[in-house]
Symmetry: C2
Subunit: 186 residues, 2 copies
């Protein structure tokens, strides 16, 4: 299901160069980086990029899920290593916001820009499911107010992601935002 007919050697090399350039550029600038920049960076024509990957979404799917998956998995592991439910939830929110700030590409992925980048979607779903679980758990343990729902958590992440994309963001937005969770501990 992966590659049907083997690529010609030059095509394979170009694809590799494009992947590398795309990865670097996406991570630095976000998933909306101009494709022409990536092609140039790879030392290849824009036409070749389209030949190989078909579309921006194709390129994204070819390059981002690995990295995103890895980073989110690390986060999940860190979170689950926390012994206390409250700390787990806290670590999740904190870690997600860290990622959203540090990694424009992952942030774009989380915010569901590029809904056609199919491979990414699953990964994000998975992470959001973890968030929901943590909320449920906190409710069960009675450490989180029942009116702080999973939707609140998603809203918080959406707000953070949106804020993280702004170049002229004010300094303390992150702390201000995290107050919303802090207000819900019982």
């Amino acid at each position: 299901m992966t590659d049907r007919k083997p690529l010609r050697r030059d095509a394979r090399d170009n694809a590799a160069k494009l992947r590398a350039a795309a990865l670097e550029t996406f991570l630095a600038q976000g998933l909306d980086a101009p494709l022409e920049v990536i092609a140039k960076h790879a030392g290849v024509s824009i036409g070749t990029l389209y030949n190989r990957f078909g579309s921006r979404e194709g390129l994204i799917d070819a390059v981002i899920p690995d990295v995103a998956g890895a980073r989110l998995q690390v986060l999940a592991a860190d979170v689950l290593a926390e012994p206390v439910a409250k700390d787990r939830l806290q670590a999740f929110l904190h870690g997600m916001i860290d990622l959203q700030i540090a990694d424009p590409a992952l942030n774009d992925a989380i915010l569901r820009r590029y809904p056609d980048a199919v491979a990414l979607i699953g990964i994000c779903e998975h992470t959001m499911a973890l968030g929901r679980d943590l909320i449920d758990e906190a409710h069960r343990e009675g450490v989180l107010a029942p009116d702080f729902t999973a939707d609140d958590l998603l809203n918080l992440l959406w707000l953070a992601g949106t804020a993280a994309r702004e170049p002229h963001a004010p300094n303390g937005w992150r702390d201000t935002l995290e107050r919303a969770l802090a207000s819900a501990w019982t």
Copy 2:
């Protein structure tokens, strides 16, 4: 200091049509609406728009401060009509977010896009000063935690403004955001 030499009648009429079109368009679409749309809407060429107002900022300043000032003044009056400090602050945040959602132009103004639209800046300063006063007041009365600062309030407004500009915002972001203030009552 307003108008030095009287405009020719046709010029005056066109300016009026442009103002009207600009007001309507800005309020509906925000301050970054294409100027060509405004010119067309006014039934006038894009060249005339530039002749009369020089730049987007010129047009903004000619049209928005009045409306923005009026709306913010209404808000200020409503806020100050509240007898209790806590309610005043609450009403301020709530009212500001209402405006930011309902009025893209005012939202742009508050977020300080278009820093060259000089006349707007003063009006916004004035409103932010009110916000700061309300925070101080709440601190003095001891109803607001000291670690919730005026900066937190501005961050909240910035977050709201940023969120309000997103077309695909999730539903409850506003409530989630207001939790951050709710968490700070003593």
